[in-house]
Symmetry: C2
Subunit: 348 residues, 2 copies
């Protein structure tokens, strides 16, 4: 069973997941599947994955058979596992607990080689609805304090399979970086009695210079102090603490905003590897006033080296105002013509 | 001028250093020099670097000419610059200050292609003495709250030049990760009235299972909750808050311990890219009782992906006890014969 261990000085929990199979001798080679015929995420290969948890599929099709549009499965090599108790215990001055949690994979499309930028807005919205459905289900398990949805795109961003997918991890503790955001938002709230993220939205709309695009209910913008070049944030303009608080129609606007961001980054930076992370509030409703959900999109352009690991202090070689201007200048309307000739032959 | 900007929520400072020359269009190609004839760190090419700050050189040789064994120069593309005032100021709800600091490069050897593992213990000690000398000098500048020394080895670990070198960055703020360590050590001290690092050393020596090697005054060990596989820590057994507190002879023992660690990692993991980071206390002596300096050595074996960036929560696929046993089993005595045939023809 995986275990959670706590760094005694900093207080950060780490997942030690030896089941994921990395013996000391195995670090020289990594297997990657880019051949569609061998891909476990392609239709026809459903038996290569654990049984599905959820799928959007045609009415006549059977579970774990072709006919699905989106499919959710447990991760075959889970970092955390669902069965068991938390069992927090000391080891001398150290702390550990069982690696209880959930680790799921959302296969976003049956088509190998089709990315989120190539999907329709409605297809991306359906992926977001699937996130919502899985998050709402897992929030009912009182062992889970946080549910993190993220996407790794491209090998350099950590994707081990090429077929377009996202992941979800439910954890029995609030992860450190979320905890830091909560703590920072709380300090601000105590001082100002306002949500810090709402104030950020306000200042960004006033300043304009870091805005990439203003959608109806959301903005995409480059943060004032980004760790990475072209790090882009998507945030609802009005206060929503959780990703689950949106009305159905808002997910479609969000899908438009997310696709717009991904297409701009793809055209601006020559299809970079990237990660996006859905930062929603911890599962407990007590954080409703403080937290304000958002999505961080991070293209992987620079290497993180010793200075950053040692200090937690990042060197970003691109001004966010300059990155925002560059992204605003991308002619996104032409994306379909230039990069997606096959779209013309499709009906949805 | 570079600037420092503060993330309003988390409170992390970021260096925005547009002078380092990464325009939006420049992310597709990175220039790397692996040809010794073109290497700015090789003897004979001294004019390709800024003027040296310090060098250990033969008595008859001239500054910025060949004849040096170790050479310290300002970074040609500094993340922070020495001249100017701090000028902390608001930008609406945000905070910024001038990017004041120092950014130096320590060229560890005149020989291109010679790594720290190929050096003698005395040569590595001399590098450590140079660290000490530069740190002591910069500590006298009251604008600097922290001095971070680190090494990036290998392209994947962020080294842009192959020739063996380390870097030093002096910063006008205490970097976030150091601040977290100080805060954690302080909580522990208030509770126990003991240094948390001293207690860790005590438990590690008792447990033995995570120890890699026990030297006279230092141990190398795998931390209980490491973020990365084969992350290794070197720490003095008795309390020393700063790297500058060692007696002269202790630097030689430390050099042996550091070389031992680097050779084990090289043999165990097939010459991996790595970073090491010297974690010493902040420049102010007020941290003397709380802090305990150490070196973190991090081989770069896994990719850091969306989950880690988003959560600050790391998945480590190797048990530290297993990594320690593997490293203990490396036959380090044979390193000279196997990997360093040229050593036999040298006299020191």
């Amino acid at each position: 069973m995986p275990e959670l261990r706590k760094d005694p000085v900093i207080g950060r929990w780490v997942i030690i997941s030896a089941e994921r199979g990395r013996r000391p001798s195995s670090y020289s080679s990594v297997t990657r599947v880019s051949d569609a015929a061998m891909c476990p995420f392609c239709p026809g290969n459903e038996s290569a994955t654990p049984s599905e948890i959820l799928a959007y599929r045609t009415p006549e099709s059977e579970p774990n058979q072709p006919g699905w549009r989106i499919r959710v499965i447990p991760n075959k090599y889970p970092a955390l596992i669902v069965e068991g108790d938390l069992n927090r215990e000391p080891m001398g001055m150290y702390d550990r607990m069982n690696g209880i949690g959930a680790h799921e994979v959302i296969i976003e499309t049956p088509e190998h080689g089709r990315d989120m930028v190539d999907m329709t807005d409605e297809e991306v919205r359906d992926v977001l609805w699937v996130y919502r459905e899985r998050m709402a289900d897992l929030e009912r398990d009182i062992r889970f304090k946080y549910i993190l949805v993220f996407k790794n795109h491209g090998e350099a961003a950590g994707a081990s399979l090429e077929h377009s997918h996202s992941q979800l991890i439910a954890t029995p503790i609030i992860p450190k970086r979320v905890d830091e955001k909560v703590a920072g938002a709380k300090r601000y709230y105590q001082f100002k009695e306002r949500c810090i993220f709402c104030d950020i939205v306000h200042q960004e709309i006033n300043d304009q210079e870091r805005i990439v695009k203003d959608f109806d209910a959301f903005i995409s913008f480059e943060p004032f102090a980004p760790r990475f070049p072209f790090e882009t944030c998507i945030i609802p303009k009005t206060h929503q603490s959780s990703f689950l608080e949106m009305s159905d129609w808002e997910y479609l606007t969000l899908a438009r905003c997310l696709r717009d961001t991904l297409i701009r980054l793809k055209l601006a930076l020559n299809n970079p590897p990237f990660n996006y992370i859905l930062c929603t509030r911890p599962t407990s409703p007590e954080y409703h006033e403080l937290f304000h959900w958002h999505i961080e999109v991070i293209p992987k352009l620079t290497r993180v080296a010793g200075f950053e690991w040692g200090s937690g202090f990042y060197i970003n070689p691109t001004l966010p105002e300059e990155a925002a201007a560059f992204l605003r200048g991308i002619e996104i309307e032409r994306y379909g013509e230039i990069k997606h000739p096959r779209a013309s032959g499709e009906d949805g």
